[in-house]
């Protein structure tokens, strides 16, 4: 007997499994949110029993997020919450809807409730490889990272790059800048221009549609290399060297399918390099053999534990064991 007419959940009585999706960002942000949605969609396409009933996006404010989650939970079997910023909101809502399973993306909160699983990928590991490659490619030995709001999943890219760069060349300095908005192209452009003016010649963009701005800044200064995150965007700009690819599609497809089947275990599930969910990839024709070899090497060393990620590279891990796949 808990809020939001959870009795209406009967609406989803038939044998199909309904899924609701809530994101703080716009659904067509050409990045994080869009990939997550794609992942869910993939799961749905693969299984006729699954149904994506509704999407609540632009839920920027906690109150709104909670209401959104509640309405979704009341009418769906699985609710996908896209982003660690939703942790608290989920923590509030999940206990009220025990028979709905919540999938939190890019967060590794343990045991909020028996019906919550946090699925994340250790992007920082990817960042280490990217950092090493960028450092190697940099003439000025100045590289940088530009992200939206200053949140752990973004700073992870910075710390990862810093560590990776140090491995390649201790002299390399890594800058970071935050536009406070993954999708503000103008600010991104200005930030990139500023960074280039400061001498950086390799820039990683942890932005969604904001990346466009970084491309344009790079166009303006010959020899500037750009690195994406999550997916390869090689066709979008000639300056793109590669990307710390994250196979959200597979990760989420797996998780959502399991969640729907009720087999997804509660707690934090983090995908690392081993799983193949993460990998640094070069754009066709980009990257020297030396760099490619370097990428191989670092990847291997991380996987077999010779290189240990430093503080900040992995998302903050609450004091509990969590399984890395």
């Amino acid at each position: 007997g808990c809020g939001g007419g959870s009795d209406e959940a009967a609406g989803a009585a038939d044998d199909s499994t309904t899924i609701g999706f809530l994101a703080p960002a716009p659904r067509n942000d050409g990045g994080f949110t869009q990939y997550a949605l794609a992942g869910v969609q993939a799961a749905v396409d693969a299984d006729p029993k699954l149904k994506l009933t509704s999407i609540v996006d632009n839920a920027a404010e906690s109150q709104e997020q909670i209401e959104g989650l509640q309405s979704l939970a009341a009418n769906n079997d699985v609710v996908v919450a896209d982003g660690a910023v939703l942790n608290k909101a989920v923590a509030v809502v999940a206990p009220k809807y025990p028979d709905t399973h919540f999938v939190l993306i890019a967060s590794d909160l343990e045991a909020l409730a028996p019906n919550v699983s946090s699925v994340t990928v250790a992007v920082g590991l990817n960042a280490m490889v990217a950092g090493a490659v960028a450092s190697n490619a940099s003439k000025s030995k100045k590289i940088g990272m530009i992200a939206g709001p200053e949140v752990p999943s973004s700073t992870a890219w910075y710390y990862g790059m810093a560590q990776g760069a140090k491995i390649e060349n201790p002299a390399t300095s890594v800058a970071q800048a935050y536009t406070n908005d993954y999708n503000d192209v103008g600010k991104a452009k200005q930030a990139a221009e500023a960074m280039i003016a400061n001498g950086a010649d390799q820039i990683l963009s942890d932005l969604d549609s904001g990346s466009e701005g970084i491309y344009q800044a790079a166009d303006a200064k010959a020899g500037t290399g750009v690195y994406n995150v999550f997916a390869l965007h090689c066709d979008e700009n000639p300056n793109i060297i590669g990307s710390g690819v994250v196979n959200w599609s597979d990760v989420l497809k797996a998780s959502v399918t399991e969640a729907a089947a009720g087999t997804l275990k509660a707690g934090a599930i983090s995908f690392g390099l081993k799983s193949g969910a993460l990998s640094f990839q070069f754009c066709p024709g980009k990257g020297t053999d030396e760099q490619k070899a370097l990428a191989e090497k670092i990847t291997k060393e991380i996987s077999d534990g010779t290189v240990v990620p430093e503080k900040g590279v992995l998302l903050p891990q609450p004091s509990y064991a969590f399984e890395q796949r």
Binding site: C2, G3, I55, E61, S71, N75, P149, P152
Partner: protein, 362 residues
Amino acid sequence: MKAFAVRVLTQLAVAAATLLFAALLLLAIGVSPGDAATAFWNGTFGSPTNAGTTLTQAVPLFLVALGWIVADKAGRMHVGFPGQVVIGGCAAAAVGLQCDGVPRVLAIVACALAGIAGGALWAGIVAWLWASRGVLEIISSLLLNLVALQVLAWLVRGPLQGSLDQQPQSANFPASTLWPAVESVPGRTLSYDVILLPLLAAALIWLFARTVFGFELRAAGGNLDAARWNGINPVRMGVSAIVISGGLAGLAGAALLFAGSAPWLSEGFEAGIGFNGIAVALLARNSPIGAIVTAIVFASLNVGGTSLQALLDVPSSLTSVLQGAVIVLVLVAAMLLRRRRAARRPAAPVTTTPSTEKELVA
């Protein structure tokens, strides 16, 4: 009697127009207006739980509206409510986070007072700049809004950052600080602070009609020079009006945090009530009673909007379009209403002196 009929008719007309507009938009994206209406109703008043949410969300809007009314009556047109809500909220949060283990009543009062103090203080800057440096309150308040946002952004990343996962959010407030909610409402969504709606409305009306302070406030607002020449200190009046309105806004900030369902400080918790509150007041033609109604309407627009998204996959943007449309239509209606009145009675009074109102007392 006839006037009343006209009034009702106009309001019905507005409602109809708004609904029509909404229906057209919904049809444009292939959602049946019928379903939408049901979803909207369920989401706002359909169940006790949701009704509770709606009413609880109306409170902060209403508080801001009252803040505007007070300042406006004193002729001080400041628009610093977003900033005052934010700072009030921050102050309340800062206190609340320390209140672990403090007896409930004490904790709650402390948070409320902290909120009021925060808002009043932030408004105090505006008041000081106006009274002693002659800075137009509308300018300084506008700028201070933008400053307040940055203060919040910094707090949730720095001093008040407290969540385990290092998101830009504070830790959850201790249970003892949360404002009590009506137990009988499932989900406990109906906070007791809704009693503020009638109470404060009555209090304000009484203040303006029955107290010397309220009278002097109105006089200073009506004609600053005449007030001064008749032994009223308009600077004192202006300052107290601005500070009081700031206090109300600050209380709204506290209510957002401690009466809502999200007991933590996060960026953007202000959620636009600062400006919407002004709209609430002006749509109610600065009548405290009317503001109760308009506040509830606005709140239901917010809540209903979210449930429309969740239930029918209506994009968030559409709900804000609806909000804008409602404001515009209500404005027009209110105006037409006044026109008909004017037609019956002589033209509006003349001898107001805006220039002297804008002139500054240094």
